[in-house]
Amino acid sequence: MSKSAASKLAEHVRRATGVDVAECYQCGKCTAGCPMARWMDVVPSQIMRLVQIGDDEAAARLLSSAAIWVCAGCLTCTQRCPKKLDPAAVIDALRELSYQQGKVPASQRKVLAFHKAFLKVVEKAGRMSEIPLTALYKMTSGDLVSDVTLAPRMLVRGKLPLVPKVVRNRRQMKRIFAACRKGDRL
């Protein structure tokens, strides 16, 4: 059933996730349980509210928010939502939209860099390996100094395999990544 009152953003979210944000009555339980809320510029219940509003201002605020990248995807909000909604999925949808539209805020450069580095490694090798991932991440994020002391200790414990494992059928990986690519973005 179409609900004419829903905003375009809300409609996008509904199609992507099945969540009808109109059902949210703003109790705040998602915010209350969110382990990452204190690092969020827009807390989960506000995210739901802004999707309900869904006008340009709300969309701009949401898609360039740090919060959607700060979400750890722990699903505590979804687990406890008294309306059986799925705020985590809503945030997933917003995050993808934010990335597609190039609205990721500068503050989240590191998070984005990590995700992109991760996928780059997987695209090339089919599997993630710690050394290429860390190298690529550090290069693209500029975060060069952190954790330098950890690497040797990981090495000692056999947790930094020097020879990365790779998928044999690399053509298949290439095909999958190509098919999932939207524009120049994954």
Partner: protein, 658 residues
């Protein structure tokens, strides 16, 4: 020969705009059996009704069809007019030319053709109508009130005050209900017991009221005006005719650690007990599940202590049959069990309590003598968190509804706490404040402004108990847009109001409907809020929906007024739309008996003059039959018919449409 009159209403322009009323009247005039046909601007007006009356008298009509609005609108009006002119009202039928025709169609020709069809159908039907007469049933002018809380007490007192007899049945050992357990009441903060106990005593001593405590309804037969109700008087093991209520027995009872229901498990009681000192009747019963004598066969300390020899371990349940004409259900509510909330500790934290427990802590007659001390260690909590909507408005636990009373009692709790612990913090987590009662909003503001109760708008996601005993409450402040963590010493959950356990079974006994939450259904949400679908059964209090004391009392008085209204006449008139069995052709396959939603079809034995059984057939009890016609359609040999909607009538209606 049928002499039918047809009256076509224009309803101003409402019908006439799309339907050619004169053409309809002209067409009707040619229908077989029609001897009079007219159209008029407003048939329901006085002159319009006069036209009908006049035609009935002058043309000696044997039936009339009014083509006008929906019969749901004016059928009573026109039938009354027919009766005034000496025509049996059930010989008048209406054709719905407005709601079902002129208002929904645009094409004048098609609408007029349809209007003629609709009139023709009704003309053919009315030719086969029979004069019907209201069914009269004598009324037993005694009422049964089920539930001895404030609603039941009020209903009983009002009915008794109206001069009619009342039987007041209560499941527990005392009347008083939840109200007896409350400390103070909002919005006036007057002492609950102080205003209630005089009412309890009055109910017990009223000459028109028979009190049956420790009793439950077991079975119900009959129908409005004539219910036969079987009541189980549970064994009390104490002969109350001998008992003086002196208390020697419970003083000697060795089973002393039974959690007190009255004190919401915060206090203890004995196995022979009265639930609270002001109980009415003020006499004890023995709880057979916990009595050492009754479970293990030895003890008898109470019997030895009783100087009047009132203790009787051989007492048995007793079934009592009473005849009543009306019933008021006032079975009240319970609090939802929050142990289903794993995120709030699944009921395992002693200091996470419910509203009743807080009432008992705050009550001067409670286990702490009115001091707020937390259950785990008896310490005075310095920070108390109150959480509203616990279970209510939570579809995850299947409760979409608002429990209505929690906003107010939580404010009261916050206030009472602040009055008793001046330097303590009372923090209320709420979603919305619903304070739409007289003096209610002012009360909430008083809690915030005068007493310093802190209100935080947001739900709580989780409560856990740190090793130091602090309860960590993780909530949200949605107005500030942030998560909030409170280190609390005690948490009070405003658990959802749910119907009393066993309520569904009771509803089924009386044929009363209930919603998915188990609350009893009223006959109409707006216009018949105290009646039920079962004639003669009325509702009072929280069994219908969450209610506070003023609402419960108001509804109880309304139910009493309904009962007194019913009892004001010696007999009852019912619509004669009932089923009848042709006993000559009935073969007693019993399909109708099994299908009837009201148990109105019964086995009937036909005997010869000497009393020998000839055969058994089905027979409809007119008092019980509501006229749905389910039995009629189920009868394979067509032995049952429904007055007003007979096979012949329906057959001719269908045939007319060819």
């Amino acid at each position: 020969m049928a002499r039918i009159g047809v009256f076509i209403c224009h309803c101003g322009e409402n019908i006439a705009r799309t339907v050619d009323c004169a053409a309809v009247a002209a067409a009707a005039a040619k229908m077989p059996g029609v001897v009079h046909s007219a159209d008029y601007k407003y048939m329901c007006s006085d002159p319009g009704q006069q036209m009908i009356r006049q035609a009935i008298a002058e043309k000696k009509l044997t039936g009339a069809v009014v083509g006008a609005c929906s019969p749901r609108m004016h059928e009573p009006t026109f039938r009354r007019a027919a009766a005034e002119a000496g025509l049996n009202p059930y010989l008048l039928e209406m054709a719905n030319l407005r709601e079902h025709c002129s208002w929904v169609h645009e094409d004048r020709a098609a609408a007029t053709a349809k209007a003629i069809d609709l009139v023709r159908v009704m003309v053919e039907k009315v030719k086969r109508n029979r004069s019907l007469y209201p069914i009269r049933v004598p009324i037993e002018p005694t009422a049964l009130v089920v539930g001895g809380g404030i609603a039941g007490i009020q209903a009983a007192l009002d009915i008794a005050g109206g001069g009619k007899k009342v039987i007041l049945v209560e499941r527990g050992p005392s009347i008083g209900g939840h109200m007896a357990r409350l400390s103070e009441t909002f919005p006036t903060l007057d002492c609950s017991q102080c205003i209630l106990t005089p009412r309890m005593v009055e109910a017990a001593s009223h000459p028109n009221i028979t009190l049956m405590t420790y009793s439950e309804v077991e079975a119900v037969e009959g129908f409005v005006g004539n219910f036969q109700v079987t009541i189980r008087r549970k064994a009390k093991y104490v002969d109350w005719s001998k008992c003086t209520g002196c208390g020697d027995c419970w003083a000697k009872c060795p089973a002393r650690k039974i959690p007190s229901e009255f004190d919401a498990r915060l206090g203890a009681r004995t196995a022979i007990y009265r639930p609270f000192p002001q109980a009415v009747p003020n006499k004890p019963v023995i709880d057979r599940e916990h009595c050492i004598m009754l479970t293990k066969g030895k003890c008898g300390a109470c019997a030895k202590a009783c100087q009047r020899g009132a203790v009787n371990f051989k007492d048995q349940d007793e079934l009592v049959k009473v005849k009543v004409g009306a019933v008021v259900l006032a079975t009240g509510f319970d609090l939802w069990d929050h142990s289903a909330y794993g995120e709030y500790g699944a009921g395992k934290f002693a200091d996470v309590i419910d509203g009743f427990q807080f009432e008992r802590l705050a009550s001067a007659s409670g286990p702490t003598g009115g001091e707020i001390r937390r259950p785990s260690d008896g310490q005075v909590p310095r920070t108390v968190v109150f959480i509203q909507c616990c279970g209510s408005r939570d579809e995850k636990v299947g409760k979409a509804y608002c429990s209505k009373i929690c906003c107010m009692y939580t404010a009261k709790h916050g206030m009472l706490y602040k009055h008793k612990v001046h330097d303590g913090r009372a923090i209320v987590f709420y979603m919305d404040i619903r304070a739409a009662g007289k003096g209610y909003e002012e009360f909430i503001r008083r809690a915030v402004e005068a007493d310093g109760v802190e209100y935080v708008r947001g739900r709580v996601s989780r409560i856990y108990r740190r090793t130091d005993g602090k309860l960590i409450v993780r909530g949200a402040d949605t107005l500030a847009g942030r998560a909030v963590t409170v280190e609390a010493d005690m948490v009070v959950l405003a658990d959802a109001v749910v119907p009393r356990s066993g309520g569904e079974k009771l509803a089924q006994l009386f044929g009363v409907g209930y919603d998915t939450d188990g609350f009893y259904s009223e006959a109409h949400p707006k216009l018949r809020p105290v009646e039920t679908a079962a004639a003669g059964v009325f509702l009072a209090g929280a069994c219908q929906s969450p209610k506070d004391i003023p609402d419960s009392v108001a509804q109880a008085s309304a139910a009493a007024a309904k009962v007194l209204g019913l009892f004001a006449r010696p007999e009852l008139e019912r619509e004669p739309v009932v089923a009848r069995v042709n006993e000559n052709t009935c073969v007693h396959c019993r399909a109708c008996i099994q299908a009837c939603p009201y148990g109105a079809v019964e086995d009937h034995e036909i005997r010869d003059r000497k009393g020998h059984l000839v055969r058994t057939v089905a027979r409809v009890n007119e008092g019980l039959c509501q006229g749905c016609g389910t039995c009629v359609a189920i009868c394979r040999s067509g032995c049952i018919d429904l007055e007003g909607f007979t096979d012949e009538q329906v057959f001719s209606e269908i045939a007319t449409l060819e």
